[in-house]
Every structure is written in C-alpha cells, then in structure tokens.
Subunit: 588 residues, 2 copies
C-alpha cells in the first residue's frame, strides 16, 4: 500500500492489458512525431545544441512513467522553462561552450532534487505563492520574450539578452546584417506551420480523409516541414549562402553520466533552480489536473513533485536540461487516447529511435525552421486579455499581473517572477490588513443583527456591537485595535463593547495580544468587552488564555444573548454585590 503510493507504476502496471497497450502505443506514435521538432527547437531556445532537446525527451519520460500519477501528462522540454534555463545558465557560461551544457545539466539535477525534496517533505504548498495573476503575467511576458528572441533566427542576425530592452537593442543594431535566404526559409516554414495548424485538417476533410488519419497527418506536418527545409538546404546549398544550419552533432544517444557539481555552480544555480522547479510544477500540475478530471481520475500533487523530480534527475543523467509537463503535448497525448503513463515510456523509445535515425541528418537543418517552430508554439502563450480581465475583477489582481508582466519583460524572468510574488503577497496582506467591519444593531422584532448603515436596526445606548468579517491575524490585528478605539471614542456613555466573531475563522497570537490591548484600554475607560458567536475551534484556543481569564465581559453564544445579558444587567443593578450578575453565566 505504502510502496504503491510512491510507485504508482505498481498500481496501474498490475492492471495493464492488451487494450491499454494498444491505446498507449497509438498515443506514443502521435506524440513522438509532435515532439521531435519541438524538442530540437526548445533546446535551441535554451541556448543548447538541438540534440539535447531529444536527449531531454527520453529518460525523463521513462522516469515520469514510473513515479508520476497522471495518465496523460507528457514531460519534456517546454518553452518557458527553456527560456529560464537560458537566462540562468547564460550568466555562468558562454552559449555553445561545454561549460554551458554542463551547467544546464547541473540545473536539471538541482531542480530534480528540489522537486523531490518538496515532494518527500510535502512542501507542494510553496507553489501557492505563484498566484494566477502572477503566472498569467509571467507566461505572457515569457511568450513575448521568446518570440522576440527568435526574430534573430528568422532574419539571420545575432541577438542578445533574455529581456525586452537587450533583445530590441540588439535587433536594431544588427538589422543591417539580414540574410535574405534565411528570411525566405523562415517565412516559408512559418507559413507552412501556420497553414498546417489552421487549415490542414479541414483541407484533408474536404478530400475525404478519415478523421483519425487526418489527425496523424496534422501532427506529422511540422516534421514534414523539417524534412522539406532540410531538402531545400541541401539542394540550394543554403549553408554556403550564409543560412545558419544546425551543423555537426554527436551521433546516437549520449552516455549516461552522473553530473559533476562544483560548489560555485550550485550556489549560482540554486535560486534559478528553485524558481524553475516551482514554475514547472505549477504548469505541470494544472495540466495534469485538468486532464485527470475529464476521466474522473485523481492527481496526487506531492507524488507529482516526486515524478517531476525523478524526471529532472533523469534529464541530468541523460545529458538533457530541465523538463516539465507541457500543455500542448499532454493534450495531444490525452486526445490520442493514452491510457497509462506507459504511453510516455513508449514515446521515450520513439524519441530514442528518432535520435539514432535523425542525428546524422540534423547538420543540414536550417535553424530558421526551428525558430519558426518556436514562434508558432509560443504565440499561444501570449494573452493580454488577462490585463483587461484582472482590471475588471480587482485592482489588486491587476497590479499583480502588471508588476509581473512589466518586471519580466524589462528585467527578465527571475526578477519578474520574484517581483510578482512579492507584489501579490504584499497586496494580499494589505487587503486583509483592512478587513470589512460593521457596527451592528438588532433588526426590530427578530434576533438578527445587521450593519447599522445598511439596515433599519435598533441599538442599546452605550453598547457598541462590532462585527468583523475576517479572520484576525497579525496583518489586521493593529487595524482592529485602531478601529475599536476609534469607534469606542465616538459613543457617548459607552459601557459595553461586543465583538461579533461569526466570520472569524482564526485568531492568531498577534490578534490575541491585540484583543488583550483592546481589553486593557477599554477596561481603563471603564468599559466591558464581550465576544459573541465565537466559533468552536477558535473558542478552544481562547479558553486557555489570560485574555479570556481576565475578560471583563463574557463570551456569548449569540449576539442576541449578548445584548439581552447587557440589558438584564442594567435592569437589575447590583442585586448581590458579592456575586456580580455577570459571573460566568453564559458561555459556549
């Protein structure tokens, strides 16, 4: 039972049969065809040789098949993580050097270890720091940066930087070096890829091609574009005309190796690895959960962390770079009928085969083809509608989107996401530091108590009843002190303050100290403090405190009981001075 929780393969593996095998094989073939050009392209985006993208699509898929819980998730290189890899590793080494490739491997290993640790120690909640506005702003900005970073590849000019200012400057500076053959290859590749995505399916349908076959042809389209531009490259000798080609790459699959860690590299890459891990996890889990729900399956987030951790460690061992679950490929995997994580393992075999077959020919592939593949893939990431949507919904959420978007575009991915996280936490604390609170009074003839500003209600003279619509914790504890003090100062002849706690889910120690302060101050003014409608778990905590022991007033089950008790005390003054009327009568 316990082992099965950590090794989901034992669970679905025990139920594996011919039918699931067939489904998985079909899905694997389609995903393999789709992954080949994407893997090559994303490696280029990460500043790595294209074959590294293929390497990163072999072992990680096998590792995820063993440890992952999603039946449809397809892991491998993805656009945003590739950009983040380029940003992180680019600070340590020059693109194209052996140091650069090995730093990318260390990054994958660190990311894997971080994800594993988060999974084992059940720290998946850390991902909650990335709010939806932050992720939306981040992904749109990343998409823009990635698209812009490929302009150089499409025009045949050099560009630099991983943020808007640097990229724009370098494009403007080098615009004179445009290579028109490269532009032609890029334009044709872009046009073909766009046509394949937008129209090919309908076109095939018009010719009576069955839907299933049409789908495979559409998925295979980008591979066809790769072969087409390869042929073009050879026939026209584009390399000699200044078109950047992929060039010689190592044949076959890489040797497995344990990545070598130098302490400085690890220190420099630890924070980027953490950010990559969290971003990758958030992307991956949301895809996995969306697809799992369609089949009423369950995703276990902490086990997903272990699955992704294993995948990244596998990426490091297999000579790749950081990977995560991709959206597009997972949807394709799902639509193609992948029934178990074994589909991923079969895809890995497919990619491994393709690597063996393809690497000899990659030398002649124009890089512009890969740039076109990237541009088309990331344009779906760019979605400015989030700005309008957030603006309409709440200014705080809009601010979080805008800060992340602006920070990422102008200062790069890591600074941008850190700014976004900081802003959203700050905005949240600010918002909850000024909770909604209302003075309440009795709706005549009922036991209901409502906001005096919104309803016709009755109040007892000298009694101030305040309803607080928020849990009480450090961020709003002092606001509560201020609020009660301000309100208390305005009531002439004040004798009693009642805090109505129906919407208070937690009282932390800061709030408890604030309640004590309120109690002391009211006591100095000769005013009694009461609480009403305190929830069970909150009352359990309060019961043992000095605040509760020294409370001048009482804790009443309901606001109405509080009012009635105060009214009764006034009507029967000092019946028996030794036993004050308010000694522990009503209490939850």
């Amino acid at each position: 039972m316990k082992l099965k929780a950590y090794l989901p393969i034992l669970d679905w593996g025990s139920r594996y049969n011919r039918q699931t095998l067939t489904s998985d094989l079909v899905a694997a073939i389609i995903v393999t065809i789709m992954l080949i050009p994407q893997s090559l392209a994303y490696a280029l985006l990460a500043g790595l040789p294209p074959e590294v993208g293929l390497y990163a699509s072999v072992l990680p898929l096998v590792a995820y098949a063993i440890f992952g819980t999603s039946t449809a998730l397809a892991v491998g290189p993805v656009a945003v993580v590739s950009l983040m890899t380029a940003t992180a590793v680019g600070r340590l080494a020059m693109e194209g050097t052996a140091d650069y490739a090995s730093a990318a491997i260390v990054l994958a290993a660190l990311s894997g270890l971080i994800l594993l640790a988060m999974g084992v120690f059940r720290l998946g909640f850390i991902a909650n720091f990335l709010s939806h506005p932050v992720i939306s702003g981040f992904i749109t900005a990343s998409g823009l940066i990635i698209a812009l970073s490929q302009v150089g590849g499409l025009l045949g000019i050099r560009t630099e930087g991983h943020a808007l200012p640097g990229l724009l400057t370098s494009i403007v500076e080098n615009i004179g070096q445009i290579n028109w053959y490269t532009v032609a290859v890029g334009a044709v590749a872009l046009a073909l890829l766009l046509w394949i995505r937008m129209d090919l399916k309908n076109w095939l349908a018009r010719f009576g091609v069955p839907k299933g076959v049409a789908m495979v042809i559409v998925r295979a389209g980008p591979v066809a574009v790769v072969f087409l531009t390869m042929a073009w490259s050879v026939l026209m000798d584009l390399g000699a005309k200044g078109v950047a080609l992929v060039g010689e790459v190592p044949q076959g699959l890489p040797m497995l190796s344990v990545p070598s860690f130098s302490l400085e590299t690890v220190q420099a890459l630890l924070l980027p690895a953490l950010i990559i891990s969290i971003v990758g996890f958030v992307e991956s889990i949301s895809v996995a959960q969306t697809l799992a729900a369609k089949r009423r399956e369950r995703i276990e987030p902490n086990q997903e962390l272990i699955g992704l951790g294993a995948a990244n460690i596998a990426a490091a061992v297999g000579g790749g770079y950081p990977v995560t679950g991709g959206f597009a490929r997972s949807v394709v995997n799902f639509d193609a009928g992948a029934a178990t994580p074994a589909a991923g393992a079969f895809t890995a075999i497919g990619i491994a085969g393709a690597t063996l077959l393809l690497t000899p020919f990659l030398a002649i592939l124009p890089k512009a083809t890969l740039a076109a593949t990237i541009v088309l893939a990331v344009l779906t990431l760019v979605d400015f509608s989030i700005l309008r949507k957030a603006w309409t919904y709440s200014r705080a959420d809009f601010t979080a989107v805008a800060v992340t978007l602006g920070g990422t575009l102008l200062l790069g991915v890591e600074t941008g996401i850190a700014m976004g996280v900081g802003a959203s936490i700050l905005l949240f604390l600010y918002r909850s530091s000024r909770p909604h609170a209302a003075i309440v009074g009795q709706v005549p003839g009922t036991e209901h108590y409502r906001n005096v500003k919104r309803h016709k209600v009755e109040t007892l003279p000298g009694v101030l009843s305040i309803r607080i619509d928020e849990s009480l914790y450090f961020a709003n504890a002092r606001y509560l002190e201020d609020y009660v003090a301000a309100q208390a100062a305005q009531v002439p002849g004040l004798t009693d303050v009642v805090l109505m706690c129906s919407a208070v889910n937690v009282i932390d120690m800061s709030a408890l100290e604030s309640l004590e302060a309120i109690q002391h101050r009211l006591s100095d003014m000769g005013v009694r403090l009461h609480l009403s409608e305190v929830k069970g778990p909150v009352m359990d905590k309060l019961a043992g405190t000095a605040f509760y022991a020294h409370l001048d007033g009482r804790v009443h089950l309901s606001q109405h009981q509080a009012t009635e008790a105060i009214r009764q005390r006034r009507e029967q003054p000092a019946r028996d001075p030794d036993q004050p009327a308010d000694a522990g009568i009503s209490l939850t």
Copy 2:
C-alpha cells in the same frame, strides 16, 4: 482643517492654558531627570560618544511636539534602536571615528525620510508585517544581546560583536584582563540602581515622605548614582587605575548641520534604516496607543509616522542618531501628568540645559556606571515567558517566536527580524493554504446544514455540499481544487456539487480561476456546480465574470434553497426542454 491634521500643534496649541502649562512643566522636569543618564548610556550602547545621546534628546522632542499626536509619548534614544544602530553603522566604520558618527547621522536622516514617506503615502500597514510573536522574540533577544554587550563595560574588558557567538567568544578570550576597580564601580552602581528601583519608594514612605516627592526622588536616583560615581572617580583617581572613563567631550550643544550623504553610505544603510524605522514605529505606536486609551484620546498612526519621521530628521540635523518613542519614559511622562506634546518640548529645553551644564564634567564619569544603567534598563525587555505562552497557544506562533529569537541571538538583529517576518508570513500562508472545509448535510426537520462528521444529518444522493471556512485566495485556491476533486471522485452517481460560501469574505482572481477550473472539470464529468450563501460584496464581483456566466448550476441565497432546487429539478425532469428548469430562477 487639513493643515491641523498634519500639524496637531495647531489643535492642542489653540487650547493651551495655564493649567496644561503647569502639568507639562512638572512632567518635563521629571522626564528630564530620568533621561539624562539613559541618553548617555544608550549613546554608548550605539557605539557613539555619550553626549550624542543628549543631542538626540533635544531637537527630536521639539519636532515630535509639533507633528506628533500623542500627549504622553517621549521620544529619544532607546535601547533596541541603539543596538540596531551599532549593528548597522558598525559594518561601515570603526567605533570612535568621525565616519562612525556621521554614518549614524545619515542613518537617522534616512530613517526620518522613510518614516515621513510612509506617513505621507499612508503606508503604516507595512508595520503589520511585524507580528507580535516576531516583536516579542526580537525584543527579548535584543535585550539579552544588549545586557551581554555591557558585561565588558562592567568588567573593564573589551568585547566585540552584536550577536551572542561573537560576544561570548570575546568575553571568554579577554576574561583575563578584568579590572577590579571597574568591577567595583559597576557592582556598586548596579546595586544602587536596583535598590532605587525596587525599594527606595517604600523606604521613603516609611520616613513619611509624601508620594509626589518620593516619585521625584526615585526618578532622580540614577542621576545621583552618576554624580556619586563621578565623585568616586575623582577622589580615588580611578582613571589612573585603569577604569574606563567617558573622557573629554565637546562643550555645549552641537552646531546644526545638514547631513552629507554619500551614495555608498546611503545604499549600505537603506535596508537597516527601513528595519529601524519599522521596529521603532511599532514600539512607539503601541506605547502611544496604550497611553492614549487611558485618557480616551486617539492616536492617528499615519500622523505618528510623520511625527517620528520629523523627530529623526531633527536628530540628524542636531548631531544625534535614530530615535523613537520609548516605553519607560513615556509611562513616566504620562504618570507625571504630561497634558500635551509641549511637555516634550520642555523636556528638550531641560536636556539642552543639562547638556550645557554637564558636558564639562562628563570626562570623569566611569563608563561602568552607564553600563549598569543599560543592564538594568534592558532586563525588563527580556521575557522568555512568550515562548511558553506561544507554545500553549499555537505551534505556528511558537515557531515564529523561536525563529526570531534564535535568529537574532545567533545572527544579529537584522537577519533575526527578517527571518521572523519571513517565517510568520510563510506560516500564515501555509495555514490558510489548508483551510477548514466540511461536507455538510441537512439537520433533519430544520433548514440548518452542518458537518456530516459531527452531526446526524441527511444528504441527497448524488449531491455533494461543501462548506469552506476561509476566504478563497491564491494560497488556498489550488487546495480547493484538490479538495473538491478528491471529494467529487468519492461520491457515486454524482450530479451536483454545492459550495456553501457563508464564511468566504473574499474571492480573489486566483480563486476565481480555480473555481473556473473546478467548474470545467465537473462539467466534463457531467456534474453541475452551484454556489450558496455568497456574501453581497463577493457576489458583486462574481456577477461580472465568465465563471458566473457559464455556471452550469446556480447561485442560491441559502444552502437549503440549493438543496430544494436540486430536489425539485429531479422530481420534474425536463418539463420543457426549451426552458430548462434551472434557468436563472433564484439569485441574490
């Protein structure tokens, strides 16, 4: 009206009369007597010449009297801020150099500007980041560090560092150099000060001294100890016997000057200045509010920021160092009857006069006297009971105390407080990331819905009703997704999910996206999502969203209406297929 809000002096000044003048003068005399030895001592603690403490007790009091809102707050050098000053400035310059003193002035100026900016832009809520557990842990740790830092002064040995490890090491290393004359002076001063604080009042009462006179004598006690040890120093020629004396100091008051800012100094001191500003503000405001409440007066936190900002800028101009409102002196000021902030201005005049009179004689004062003054003052700060109290109340609060206490003791004030703030925010987000949620059912015969685990309730087959006891925001949005998915997967023949939102005070955009995800996933499973008991302000926001527009189910006023609507729909299936029974019937 507006000007009066920014210059409270215009308000109380217009009502000033002979009676308030008398009260203020009496309070000023008592506070002046108390402040003299404290100011000298705290400057020494900050690593500055003692007279700087006097300078810092003149102009800041005048500035606060003009801009502050508290009638009782006494600003000036305080122990914790002095330690923080020593830590921050000690990184930039050697103690005793001119650079050190001018860095302290820059620190005061920066702190003043930060406080002013926080006040003008109404950013006082930033202080909420310092939760009570963090402040308690921080102040206890600071008190311990300060006490330990004075051991050197009491034994006549050199000590170094502003955290436990360094201080302990240097005490152990130098223990051989103990000067027994210094020990004698320190021990006598400590014993006398302790006796003055503990017993002098009762002793005087026994001799029939009236209470008011006794109070003045007790306050003057520490000044007497200063003069006594000065006399001892002269008579026994302690300086020649190796006892550290204050030594020659500049005569009279310093020239006013605009502090000179170098960019590097500003950069190095910006973060410490921010921390000092916030810690000082939090200490000050809580003292001011406690005292104000006793007189039913109001403190305006944002105006307090401006008052403290002005005080710190005045400290910089007047050759001092960072100041804030002190607890002990403010209580004395209050008890002595200070009626308006003018008492502070009169105290300033008193200190200025004392500075002119005292500076010629300070040379012969043994530093051990000041060390004894500090030790006695800070021992009241040390309070380990907070650990037990927090442990009893909540593990999260205990962790925040322990992290702050340990971090401050071992790594110093700035790191310690940063760790505490980080820990408390993290713990809060963690706690609210796993909100209490319950499956609810109908209490038979009523319209009440309660937790199925705690009460005997009835549920409709195929209907899952979930009550969430927390506002929905980014930290728990994904937890909600998981929770709903997990629960939904367990109900056979599920047709409807109802989210009961009675305790949901806010739904932020992340939670909205999660609700959309939940809605999509349930929809894919053929399940309708309903909401019930959504609060007015939350509903206002939801009404304009795509989530609401595409909701398969409905928003019901009450949980009971939701259940009844589902029951009715089942009993009358597809009456009119063009007008589904659930089209917009019930809605807040």
